[in-house]
Amino acid sequence: MFKKPLNAISVKLIAPLVITFVLAISFCYALFEHNARHLVDNFVEKRAYELAELLVINIETNNTKANLIRVVNSIGSYEDVASLFLVDRPGQYILASNKNRYIDKQLNNLVDLSLKSTLMDAIGQAKNVFTEHLGSHQHKLVYHFNAISMDKRRFQPLTLVLILNEQDLSLALSKFLSPLLLSQTLAIVIAGVFFYIAARIVIIRPINKLVKAIGSARKNNNAISVEHTSNDEFGVLVDNYNELMTSLHNYQSRLIEAKEKSDAATQAKSEFLATMTHELRTPLNGVIGMSELLNGQNLTKQQKYFVDTINQSGTQLLAIINDILDFSKIESGRFELSNIAFSLNDLVQQTCLILEFQAKDKGLKLSFSNNLSPSPSLILGDDVRLKQVLINIIGNAIKFTSAGSVQISIEHASSFQTTDDTKQLEYVIKIKDTGIGLSQDQIDNLFKQFTQADSSTTRKFGGTGLGLAICKQICKKMGGSISVKSTLGEGAEFLIQLSMPIIDTKDVADTPNVNTTDLNSLAHRQDPKHVDELWHQSHFVQNNIPPKVLVVDDTFINLEVVSAILEAEDIEVVRATDGLFAVEEFNNNSFDLILMDCLMPNMDGYQAALEIRHLEDLSNEENELEDTETTAKTRTPIIALTASALQETKDKCVKAGMDDFIAKPFKSDQLITTIKWWLIRNLKD
């Protein structure tokens, strides 16, 4: 809260006032004391001379012993007279004193030594002397005079030593000063209190109000106008504050409104795009699938050219639609990454293999070197997305290089240092080409959406201009970055910098299926050639037993495409047009694998998968009871086939008990590899 500073203000205001008052009063008091002291001293001196004069007048001409003693005693009886001595100078003895015991004593015989020296000094002095402040509040007068001697025939030289007390006078003075000090102190206190109250009302209360209003405005995030109570500087401050807050608040609400509108528009656009692309993929599936099937027929050279063109165009269109889908997902915030254990080395190598054909076609040399040491066998991340980025960047490198080479390498990030228990791999994938290169302007715009390095290149090389923007977003999402170094005409080097956790190989061996939520990647990770080799060794081929696959889809054309692709590979196909039929078929026959569409009338793919798994569980239990020797549980792989590439869909599939996921539209070899992999895998299990 703001209470401490407020307190400081009141102290700051009052402290100087009180200090000034105290100083002024102290000064007055000191001045008064000084003057009073001076007055007292003057008074005492005058008094001393008056008393001396009184004594002299009384005894000058009436110098009898009795008279002397009477006068001395009488003067001695005054309160301010401490003591007095009348000394005979020639005789050096005390003629009279108000202290009886000293009368007629010789100075030389005095026991009191300080008195003796005082009196001896006195008679030795040449003239009358008044001494101020003789010790504690005492003053001394030494007064010489001549009295007519007792025989009235000569002068008798006498010295009066008068010691005066001013204690009573000082006491009276302090009695007078005390009430003065009291009243002045009271005045300070009253003035201080008055000023404090005034300061609180005039200064601190308005500040408090303002502070409170600002605090509550901050807390509630709205403008509270402060009441205008005075026409002084605070009034102006309050008015200005109110105006400022009102305009700020209006401005802020307009901004929020605009942002909400803009967000809603972007969201709507992204939603639209996601839906549209989804809808576009289903018919495209038919075009690509059918053109591939058609390509397998006996065609004339010209027919084959036409079919290839259809296929290529479909594939290109699919790529564009995929880009748009990815981009709209990123825009709408529905873009999610999966976590899979994978080999970085294998992933880059596979990517190179995929693109090697393109490079060879253009006469380019595509090389890869892994400079990681040690190179971890497995790391955790989204391999599919990383592959997507690599394909894009390497593909671009090939696209924009007409001669020379494209070199790919993996290196440790400069900041990375290996230790025995390193848990995180920080690495850079470098893609260096000898292509046309980029200018600084081009580099600046390179990763922006819908731009290519040069609009003219669009016409020459094609593409949506979304690829690099998507790559950048993916890398960013992965916690890494992508950058480029290039000079126009001298090639370019792309740097993908990422950091991923290292997986202990032993842990992974026990759980080959690290993350089943990532359906799309399980089979896709496999090298198609390797799968093919294994397939030829499997009992399906060796014993010539065709595998039996149940294909479930409500769209006739899809059923046709899939059946044609499978049958071309000597796979027996049983068709079902919805979930209900599928469950019925499963109940009546046994299948090696099921391809399941997700969205179907009567019973959708999820429900069907659930029912099938339920049936399996029941039969497994029966088997366990009947025959303990053949304990192998049967679990028919179910692969989802769907046009939706969203993570939610994948999650839903897993939940329903499905094992893998293929997004429509798919390439025929991709479908075959996946099916084969699952068939082999299922046998091994």
């Binding site: 209470k3 009477r70 009886s77 015991r101 005390s178 000090l181 601190i204």
Partner: protein
């Protein structure tokens, strides 16, 4: 209220309290009030100097200044002028002081009775009090001397009118009689001691003939007692007793000291002491409470009235001059 306000209030209160304490420190301490007592040379009063010298007053927390005057008349005058708070005197001066000032006076102590101390000394022509008729007798008019002379004459059927009274101060007593200015004088130690050194003078009367008539008193202005310190008489009596006890314990030292002050020898001082009867505070208390004291006051006052030496009426003297009982 916020913390700031509380702090402000607290500091203001503490400031107020500090200033009050500061001022409180300046206020008077009643025990420090000084009492000034006028005193004249008389062996009985010397014990007050002894108490002063030995610090018995201080021990009791009393601040006393003894103002030394030459005669009883001077003592009375200083009191009447307001330069003293109390007097050490005979009842005669006490009555006059109370009467003249019309201010209540308290007798706090009776230090002694004159028991032969006050004497009438005469030259060789006079053998007895009866012979004083028509003679010049020195005495302090309106004071103790006249009272004693009056008492002495009354016993012989004479009165003050029968003698020629000449005012002689004690300081001039010796001079006056040796210069043959007077035939007899009423006197007391240490002045009587000096006169009696001359062999031609004889004592024709002393106060042992009128026991209890000449009473010495220590009297204090009543307002000074009630205003500041009602315990004062009690403490004063205590200091008095201490002085008496000290003189009994160390007579040599005490007597020497007191004799020095009187300007006489120790032996003469001891001799002078036989002429009076010292009173302890207990004895003093008893005397103060007795009817005899009241009678004495009446007697003194009426004597003074008859001698026309006072201008006030004696009828309210008992309310003006009162014994302080219970100290």
């Amino acid at each position: 209220m916020n913390i700031g306000a509380k702090l402000g209030k607290k500091s203001i209160i503490s400031f107020l309290m500090a200033s009050l304490l500061l001022l409180g420190g300046c206020s008077d301490q009643s025990n420090d009030i000084k009492m000034r007592i006028a005193i004249n040379p008389w062996p009985g009063y010397e014990f007050l100097f002894l108490a002063q010298e030995k610090g018995f007053f201080e021990e009791e927390g009393l601040n006393i200044e003894l103002i030394e005057m030459a005669s009883l008349a001077d003592v009375q005058r200083v009191y009447v002028q307001g330069r003293a708070d109390g007097i050490a005197s005979t009842m005669i001066e006490a009555v006059q002081a109370a009467g003249i000032t019309q201010e209540p006076l308290s007798v706090v102590l009776i230090p002694d009775y004159s028991n032969g101390g006050d004497i009438i000394v005469a030259n060789s022509t006079i053998k007895s009090v009866k012979d004083l008729k028509g003679k010049r007798v020195g005495a302090e008019i309106g004071s103790l001397g006249m009272f004693i002379l009056s008492q002495a004459l009354t016993r012989e059927g004479l009165s003050l009118k029968d003698v020629d009274i000449i005012n002689v101060e004690q300081l001039n007593a010796e001079n006056s009689i040796t210069n043959n200015e007077i035939d007899a004088i009423v006197t007391y130690p240490p002045y009587s001691t000096a006169i009696m050194k001359h062999s031609e003078y004889t004592e024709i009367f002393n106060t042992s003939d009128i026991p209890g008539d000449v009473i010495d008193t220590i009297s204090i202005r009543k307002s000074a007692l009630t205003e500041h310190n009602p315990d004062w008489p009690k403490k004063f009596n205590k200091a008095w007793d201490k002085a008496l006890q000290y003189s009994q314990k160390y007579p040599q030292e005490s007597y020497q000291m007191m004799a020095d002050r009187e300007g006489i020898s120790r032996a003469d001082f001891a001799d002078a002491l036989t002429g009076l009867k010292l009173q302890t505070s207990k004895e003093s208390q008893r005397a103060l409470a007795s009817d005899q004291l009241k009678d004495n006051i009446s007697k003194v006052c009426s004597t003074l009235e008859h001698a026309r030496s006072i201008s006030f009426k004696c009828k309210n003297i008992h309310s003006l001059l009162t014994p302080f009982i219970g100290s």
